[in-house]
Subunit: 210 residues, 2 copies
């Protein structure tokens, strides 16, 4: 059954989860409704109810959703009841920012391995992670059975690193490299490129005389 | 006419632009085809031709696209012939990484202003940018007529900063804060949250016993 759920529905579940956690933790709320969630997310309440109905019946007419219960259910659906080890490749400015990002905590992930090819960086420590030599990538990832990776490397080497990660068993890659990556069908890649996002928005701005 | 072009089409243009630049700069290619572009982007050639046809006739049957010409056309369509000044709010690890990111160069943007509320950071310099006191946000942005901003602040203050940016005239915001932002209809927000992307991919992994 879960095989048939559209990617776009799966894509929204983490957004619901994030909003529910804010409601519970920052506002100490116990229950919420699809209307309240929708208002806070710019998503229609009907869409939220429809998305959640793929996985069961979580709310009650009149009382709405019990927030902590729905959080637990979403965590189970998204396989976040366990903490996933993540290999981070690239220890530049952005790599350091990611290694030190505290937003991974309690959200299902832990940066467990950090690689770079710069002799000056190898052996250095950041946030209790020792930068390892990228030549040890395959061996270390296989040993740790790491399934997820984040790559923060130049475009020119991103495909090569990706091929090595995939060969070592990685199945999910978040890439900050500004290039489309070719992977086998069992591997998922998600991209982050701030310039692409800025360029998409620039279209809607009125050009200025500079 | 341009008013009717779907957001999703606009969303793909920067991806075409990025691929074309790689072809021209890294591979010294002069021409390309919708097939070659499609192969490199995991997008069908028909989709690429259809997207571009919204804006005119850029390719020739048989010879394909002249890369530099198409790059120039896409830059004009996306309003990237000018360089947009960007205000960056938040000078933590990630803010520093963004301030020092060289991927903005030649792609239409320049981090022109940098703000933080930490007295230890205000007055410090990074990549030729002086960290300014966030209390001066509105005044400085109005003076510079800055239309774009990137916010790298905690969720708890993100809406407040957004409201102030909008009041000062900002119309496009790229947010790294893990929260949905409410803005007037003339303002666009784009989000970047690595955890959301990782959680979306975790769904497709087989849970492990840990």
């Amino acid at each position: 059954m879960t095989d048939q759920i559209p990617d776009i529905v799966i894509g929204r579940l983490p957004i619901y989860l994030r909003a529910l956690r804010l409601l519970a933790q920052d506002e100490n709320k116990i229950t919420t409704s699809s209307h309240e969630l929708g208002r806070r997310l710019g998503i229609s309440s009907a869409q939220i109810r429809k998305d959640l109905s793929h996985f069961g019946e979580f709310g009650k007419q009149g009382t709405g959703y019990h927030i902590n219960y729905l959080i637990e259910q979403l965590r189970q659906i998204l396989h976040l009841s366990q903490e996933w080890d993540v290999a981070l490749v690239g220890a530049g400015y952005l790599g350091h920012a990611i290694a030190n990002y505290n937003g991974f905590q309690d959200r299902g992930f832990r940066i467990a391995l950090l690689f770079d090819n710069d002799p000056d960086k190898i052996g250095q420590k950041t946030n209790n992670l020792v930068v390892q030599d990228v030549t040890e990538l395959e061996e270390t990832i296989q040993k740790h059975q790491t399934k997820m990776a984040i790559i923060v490397v130049p475009a020119q080497v991103a495909q090569g690193i990706t091929d090595r990660l995939v060969k070592a068993g990685v199945q999910s890659i978040l890439s900050y490299a500004p290039i489309y990556l070719i992977v086998p069908s069992h591997v998922r890649v998600s991209y982050s490129d701030p310039v692409i996002q800025m360029q998409q928005m620039a279209y809607y701005l009125t050009p200025q005389n500079t």
